[in-house]
Symmetry: C2
Amino acid sequence: MFRTLLTAAAVSALMVGSAFAQDAATAEALRDKALRDHLAWDLTEELTTTIGPRLVGSPAMEKAKDWGVAKLKALGFTNIKVEQFAKPSWTRGEESAWLMAPYAMNLNPLGLGRTVPTPAGGVEAEVALFATYAEMIAAPEGALKGKIVVITQPMVRAQDGAGYGVAGISRRAGPVEAAKRGAIALLIRSISTSDSSVPHTGVTTHGDDVVTIPAAAIGVPEAEQLQRLAAKGPLRIKLNLQSSVDPKGVAWNISGDIKGSEKPDEVIVIGGHLDSWDVGTGALDDATGVAITTAAAKLIGDLPKHPRRTIRVVMWGSEESGGSSDAYLAANKDSLSRIILAGESDSGADRIYSLKVPAGSLEHPVIKTATRILTPLNIYLDRAPAAHGGVDITGIEGAGVPVINLNQDVSRYFDYHHTADDTLNKVRPGELAQNVAAWASFLYLVADSDIDFRAMKPATAAAAAAH
Amino acid sequence: MFRTLLTAAAVSALMVGSAFAQDAATAEALRDKALRDHLAWDLTEELTTTIGPRLVGSPAMEKAKDWGVAKLKALGFTNIKVEQFAKPSWTRGEESAWLMAPYAMNLNPLGLGRTVPTPAGGVEAEVALFATYAEMIAAPEGALKGKIVVITQPMVRAQDGAGYGVAGISRRAGPVEAAKRGAIALLIRSISTSDSSVPHTGVTTHGDDVVTIPAAAIGVPEAEQLQRLAAKGPLRIKLNLQSSVDPKGVAWNISGDIKGSEKPDEVIVIGGHLDSWDVGTGALDDATGVAITTAAAKLIGDLPKHPRRTIRVVMWGSEESGGSSDAYLAANKDSLSRIILAGESDSGADRIYSLKVPAGSLEHPVIKTATRILTPLNIYLDRAPAAHGGVDITGIEGAGVPVINLNQDVSRYFDYHHTADDTLNKVRPGELAQNVAAWASFLYLVADSDIDFRAMKPATAAAAAAH
């Protein structure tokens, strides 16, 4: 095994010219400078403190847009754009939930994003409690008529966040599916890996013309309490969720460039999203993503000579409620072929542990060099091809833009995300800096190269298996 | 050092007769049985689930009283008593707090226990923010006229809970002291070791005739946010705290005995408190204390022969708001001399790490044997004398009753206590059982002995230093 590695290194060395050796040295220097750089922290602190939560359609989000533009200008980005798009905005109103029988207990709910309201004064009904989403789905249509459905399925803690998709369906599809079965409202155990009473919001998936019901999350201990009580006898719950929607709302994708020195039309798109939920201050989700990518690009912009290709930072305007991705695709459809790579930082600020690159590029000298430079940051090259680069780049990824994944350890992320506890004190400065170091060094290598990810042939299964 | 220990052990062995060797074997068996016993968990689960939070004066607290009596009966305790005492009861009403300037942010407050209400509709004022309690105290009388005071002093995490007393003064004395300086309301950073947004309540200290002001806690991130914002410019806050007091409220201390087989009039008083705050379900504070001591006594009660002295479990009725201690002292003032030892379990359910015994008893064979039996539970004998046996036994301790401390590791306790997160899912069954094992084995040894803690001479300072 050791001999194989030596051989691979020797081959790599032969392929690397002296200009590229210079690039590697620059990338290493960027990496090391980033580890001592405070910009990402300062941006995170400023955005979360001076503006706070940034729900799409809120006055705070408009302030955040202006902040983003001013910040990109001040940091030396050029070609700054504000791309406005229509986005109906949802606003939370008064919310409460009480267990009414067998005794009165405050359930401290948090309405799910885009939930429809209850009638004024709320609804009260008997509870149909399900330990899993699958059990609720197994109920026939009409079987839950007049009930308030409670789903108490927990979420698996996983380094790569795999538990989120599995548990998250209760939130995304639960309201519509419970409505189909006759339920009048839905409460879910927070989609959370914590043991906390702090409820998690997050978007629900429903079209404008689909029948849905009011839906909220409750904290983990409250859900467990209902589960224990339901085993002893019937429960009644009263739920009041007020909210409103402004159909004429707007949002904005903002971008700024570190212009390429030789091939400025070839663009790498990176970024995080400026919007957040209305609880907490959107620190991990996703002030840090904005901060990490902006700080990484700024470090590259400060070099004596910009890399050959352009690096574009996009501060996405509506990730939580959706919309940024389609809007960017629509606004940039004529120049998609010139986006050579895209990536998004949107899983908090804990350390990056792996890199995934587009299929077929594993053996390219740029990737080999990047891997070597990322190794001291404790990042490995995952040989599976990159995919699902981020919610905001789904649109351009679907249209053929290659993506990368710089995978953050999210073991802790789902304790806090979409809650009142997504706040600055959950950000670890050292791990934040490690993110910037990884992005800056990797981006520089790709931006100063000719690597063409679209031209790569995916490795055969046999070749992949040989590793 | 090793030789010294051997010598001490040899001396100890000489002092121990064969009856006492049998006691040691029984205590060891109790310890090991307790580690596999489920009663403490079952009691904790039942009390927190079927009754929930148990604020003094609430219907739930009356249910808890009935539950305690029924439980003591069912578990074979005798001489069951319900000692009623007067206790004005405080009830939380509607509460809200908003940062109004520089921008609107929900501060999610939790009124401190016994806080006076604001006028209907709340109060709004400029903020005077202090990073420490000492800085607030340094303000002259009248200097804070018309202000809402915010104190953001953090709490030190410490295994023995030392940080609680230091930080807790903001909560206990803060309202009266801020009032003296002219403030119209007080917000404190939660007295918490967590990084959570979940606010902590807890009692405030004020006499009926003292001028005080409405006071609430806010979560750690909210307090830190205010501190950062205050460094940038003036803040305004609006606070609405409604509450009411029923001056005719009552509470109850409940007790039951494992009657001594030879000296039933000599009594060891142990227990935890049944009452809790109105948020969470009072799991760690203090369903587990009730459960640990009840389960330990029940294990002893199940022995073929009861120990010589009586073990009395008291389920205290008003720890959080005060009152149990004085009431017990008053009701039992004629029999205090027959209480040979008292102890309370009221610091959660994490593992016990040390034992403190009354001054002068360190070298007694009972204590030496107890230490040997507790060592495999990872508990050491602290050579400092026991003191402050628990809030509910302060009265009898002050009247001369010797006390013990079975010290729980509270590193984690102050993350949750007095919050919505004091719930069953924070209790670790293995550590709960370790508590029962320690109480059961220690209690048995003392109850089956003639040890007279009142007759002990405290070791001289020189003798203590020799160890």
